[in-house]
């Protein structure tokens, strides 16, 4: 397109260009809601006899320039296949032929406009349409249903969908959520097919939910990973039970675990009780041990036992151990994610080991040095490690400041005192033999302080 058009009144030109562009876009979009009920015709009387024998359509309707087009039926719905595709393609149409609802594959469609569909082949399979796995009906399943807008992080309701016929392929490009489209759908027939792009969301930013969306899609996770866990948690809290379970089922366990850690406690508990125990166990196994324990504490005994029994061995041990401690002791709030280094390892080896633990980076702020018996020697902060000579033995770093350690049975008050008086970002929990079993980070203390024992704080955040 020529861009530099010399003009005396550029603003008018620009405006006109914009209007023309808008119109061009509008004319290329096909409104799905407007397409429903439109005629499906067979071009130019080819094999008219065969179609005529199939059903009593209006034969030989005469339109300007189109003599002898035969109406085969009316559009009922648009079928797409979404799995694995970024931009879903239309695979066919459901067409009412006489009293039947037949499936017309998209390869038989020679032209699709907002007002009509023209077929190139008369070979109609007039068996009643039955949805196959992975097929999504745009009118039946998507329009008027709730969708997740990933970019806007909100639940929207589709008032229309737009198709873009590009060559032989017809793609689903956008979701309309505007009011005008709703009014258009209620209005007279001839305005219904005119696309009214107003608040359109790109389909690539949309995640479906509910029964159809629950079909597990690879795409879902890729797209949903763009969301922060807190936003995902927000969305989960906004949805109804069915959709919520559908969405959780379509998430990878690690993604679900991140979101669950961010959810409000009661909502999270509810969700864990709603979903199948195996699924809940898979999600809990991906959570940080202290968060997992906290979630499990809130469940009733049966549900908890069932989930624990299905947990993988590694996380089960940690969770069972943590559940054994009282909620208001050091053991009850510590995390069991620990990095330990034996005397004799070099700083470089330790740092390399840390590289595999990025998933736990929020729980690691120091490395424990232990002797041959596993007893705690020192707690080396990541800073000390970073500035140390990489070939040095970690034991050379052992020295003051000495680690602050408490026993797992230490009451919260003791933990708080220990943290307050030493100004450390974390303290170590050791068993009776002096072996480290957990770590309490400042944010765990903060959590415990803002909530638990009422005598610690005035009433905050009550609603």
């Amino acid at each position: 397109m020529a861009r530099n058009v010399g003009t005396s009144i550029p603003s008018v030109r620009r405006l006109r260009r914009r209007l023309i562009d808008q119109r061009a876009i509008r004319d290329q979009l096909v409104s799905v809601a407007g397409l429903i009920g439109r005629p499906v015709t067979l071009a130019g009387g080819i094999e008219a006899g065969r179609v005529g024998s199939v059903q009593a359509g209006r034969v030989g309707s005469v339109q300007a320039g189109r003599v002898g087009n035969i109406e085969v039926g009316r559009v009922v719905d648009v079928v797409t296949r979404m799995a694995g595709l970024r931009v879903p393609e239309v695979t066919g149409l459901v067409v009412r032929v006489g009293r039947r609802r037949a499936f017309v594959p998209v390869s038989h469609v020679s032209e699709l406009t907002g007002r009509s569909v023209t077929l190139s082949s008369a070979q109609l399979d007039i068996r009643d349409f039955e949805r196959r796995d992975g097929e999504v009906l745009l009118m039946g399943d998507v329009i008027d249903h709730q969708l997740v807008d990933i970019n806007g992080v909100q639940i929207v309701r589709a008032s229309d969908l737009y198709l873009a016929p590009i060559g032989q392929r017809i793609r689903l490009v956008g979701v309309e959520t505007g009011l005008r489209s709703l009014l258009r759908r209620l209005g007279p027939r001839r305005f219904q097919s005119r696309a009214t792009p107003e608040r359109v969301i790109d389909w690539t930013d949309i995640q479906m939910i509910g029964e159809v969306g629950a079909v597990r899609l690879d795409r879902a996770n890729r797209e949903l990973r763009r969301l922060r866990p807190a936003d995902l948690a927000d969305l989960l809290e906004q949805l109804g039970q069915q959709q919520r379970m559908g969405l959780v089922d379509s998430l990878d366990p690690d993604l679900a675990a991140d979101a669950l850690e961010e959810m409000e406690t009661d909502q999270r508990d509810r969700l864990l009780r709603e979903i199948a125990p195996e699924r809940a166990a898979a999600i809990i196994a991906e959570m940080e041990p202290d968060e997992a324990t906290e979630a499990l504490r809130e469940l009733d005994d049966d549900a908890r036992a069932e989930i624990i029994s299905t947990l993988p061995e590694a996380s089960r041990a940690a969770v069972v151990q943590l559940l054994g401690y009282d909620e208001e002791t050091a053991g009850g709030i510590m995390t069991t994610v620990l990095v330990t280094a034996r005397r004799g390892s070099t700083v470089e080896e330790v740092i390399n080991g840390l590289r595999d633990l990025t998933a736990h980076r929020e729980d690691i702020d120091a490395v424990l040095v232990v002797d041959e018996d596993g007893q705690l020697l020192d707690d080396i902060s990541l800073f000390e490690l970073a500035v140390a000579d990489s070939s040095a033995d970690v034991s050379t770093l052992v020295g003051p400041p000495w680690p602050i350690a408490v026993s797992p049975d230490a009451p919260l008050t003791e933990v708080v005192d220990a943290v307050l008086s030493n100004r450390r970002s974390s303290i170590v929990v050791v068993d009776d033999d002096g072996r480290p079993i957990g770590r309490i980070l400042l944010d765990d203390v903060l959590d415990a302080l803002t909530l638990a024992p009422a005598h610690f704080r005035p009433n905050v955040g009550d609603r």
Binding site: D144, H145, Q146, Q154, I155, V156, R157, S159, T177, L179, L182, R185, L186, E211, R228, P229, A230, E237, Q238, L239, G240, Q241, Q242, Q243, R244, E261, E262, M263, E264, T265, D266, Q267, R268, R270, R273, E274, E291, E294, E298, E327, E362, D443, D447, A448, T450, L451, A452, P453, A454, R457, N459, G461, D462
Partner: protein
């Protein structure tokens, strides 16, 4: 560190310094509520006028109808609560999703008409109450309209809501009044539990008005929306059910005691002439100040409903266009809904000021509701029957029969009376 989030994270709220058992209890109370509020909203200006009319004109004869209506109300409110909890969607959104946009639009239009009728009746209630206190309705109704509008749009609605509710608590005096007023308990018993109906045209009209005021369309909408907004889900279904059932029964115990108290005071002396006559029913409790007490209660109930009902209409429209989340958060910024709210208040107050008998006007708006509620009931029934939508929470066969009988019964009666009324206009009897 976790990403920042502008509310208290799970870990913090989880312990909040209370023991876990206390928290569980608090959970039950948090859910207890919407059912009680929804059902008791039926005892608004129109409700009181209708029940008092029933008691005045037919003494205890309508009590059996009220028994049936109570059963229907329990069934309907329970279904609405279950729909909301299971699907996480309000009724209008469900209708749009499960039927079509057109059907949803139709229901919103029905609701708009029914609710506008209600708003009229609430302002008529304000007028009647203030006239008892010696203030002309031409002063009190416009003031009330401006006041309600300002409180909802500009002010602190939560605070005002509590004041209105406190005022309307005065109506708890009715059950006491019914006990102290020496009603004929033998007739009360027989008229409540022995099946009877009257083919009398006026009696049937009143029956439809009773249904309309007790099973008001917006109550179902409110019930479902409140359950959704509170984030209650199918897991809390037991608590939600108990709430909706006890709420409905409690509301109708009050309604029936209004009928009984009025019947004992002025029963059988013909149609209710004025609000002052209705106030006689409170004399056993309040003595000489019965009129004042009655006026205060009526004022509170009317103002509360005058604010809630137009809000409910706006919410229904918001659901239909899929904007309910944003409306429940920022009502003031949503021009469409604010406009609709304003129009309802203005039109409602204006019609309530039209000259004529206020009690008659109140009865007519309840009758209109009685005609519209079967339409919504049908949708609710179909939705609650759908296993595809409700899963294991869909109506069970036995419940389905009861709910169908209720819906068909209410619908048939409404249709019969509607046809009779229309024929009456053309002189056919």
């Amino acid at each position: 560190m976790k990403p920042a989030r502008n509310r208290i994270p799970a870990g913090i709220r989880s312990r909040l310094g209370r023991s876990r058992r206390l928290r569980r209890l608090a959970g039950v109370f948090a859910i207890l509520g919407p059912g009680l509020i929804a059902a008791n909203a039926g005892n608004d200006a129109g409700g009181i006028a209708t029940y008092a009319s029933a008691g005045a004109q037919y003494a205890y004869k309508t009590l059996f109808v009220m028994l049936l209506v109570t059963i229907a109300l329990v069934v309907v409110q329970e279904m609405s609560a279950r729909l909301g909890a299971t699907t996480g969607n309000g009724l209008v959104s469900l209708i749009r999703e499960q039927f079509s946009l057109r059907v949803a639009t139709f229901s919103v239009l029905c609701l708009l008409v029914a609710n506008l009728g209600l708003v009229v009746s609430e302002f008529a209630g304000v007028g009647a109450a203030m006239e008892l206190l010696g203030v002309s309705r031409y002063i009190s109704v416009p003031l009330a309209a401006v006041g309600v509008w300002a409180v909802v749009v500009l002010g602190s609605y939560r605070y005002a809501e509590r004041v209105f509710m406190l005022l309307s608590l005065v109506f708890l005096a009715y059950p006491i009044s019914a006990l102290l007023g020496h009603p004929k308990w033998s007739s009360v018993g027989s008229q409540t539990f022995l099946p009877h109906l009257s083919g009398n045209k006026e009696f049937l009209f009143l029956t439809v008005a009773l249904i309309g005021t007790t099973i008001t369309p917006y109550m179902q909408l409110y019930q479902a929306a409140a359950v959704v907004e509170r984030g209650s889900t199918a897991d809390d279904l037991r608590a939600i059910r108990i709430d909706s059932i006890t709420g409905s029964i409690f509301a109708n115990v009050i309604s029936m005691s209004i009928i009984i108290a009025t019947a004992a005071a002025i029963g059988g002396r013909g149609p209710l002439a004025s609000a002052a006559a209705a106030a006689h029913a409170l004399e056993p409790v309040a003595g000489k100040s019965a009129e004042t007490i009655f006026a205060i209660g009526l004022l509170g109930a009317s103002l509360l409903a005058a604010a809630v009902v137009p809000l409910a209409t706006s919410y229904a429209l918001a659901e239909a266009v899929g904007a309910e989340r944003s409306v429940s958060r920022t009502f003031r910024d949503a021009k469409l809904f604010l406009g609709l709210f304003t129009v309802q208040i203005v039109v409602g107050a204006a019609i309530a000021l039209a000259p004529g008998n206020l009690i008659k006007l109140l009865l007519n708006t309840q009758f209109l509701n009685g005609l519209i509620s079967p339409i919504l009931l049908t949708f609710i029934l179909i939705l609650a029957n759908r296993t595809r939508l409700m899963g294991a929470n869909a109506n069970k066969p036995a419940f389905r029969v009861v709910a169908t009988v209720c819906t068909v019964g209410v619908g048939a009666l409404a249709a019969f009376v509607a046809v009779q009324t229309v024929l009456g206009w053309f002189g056919v009897h």
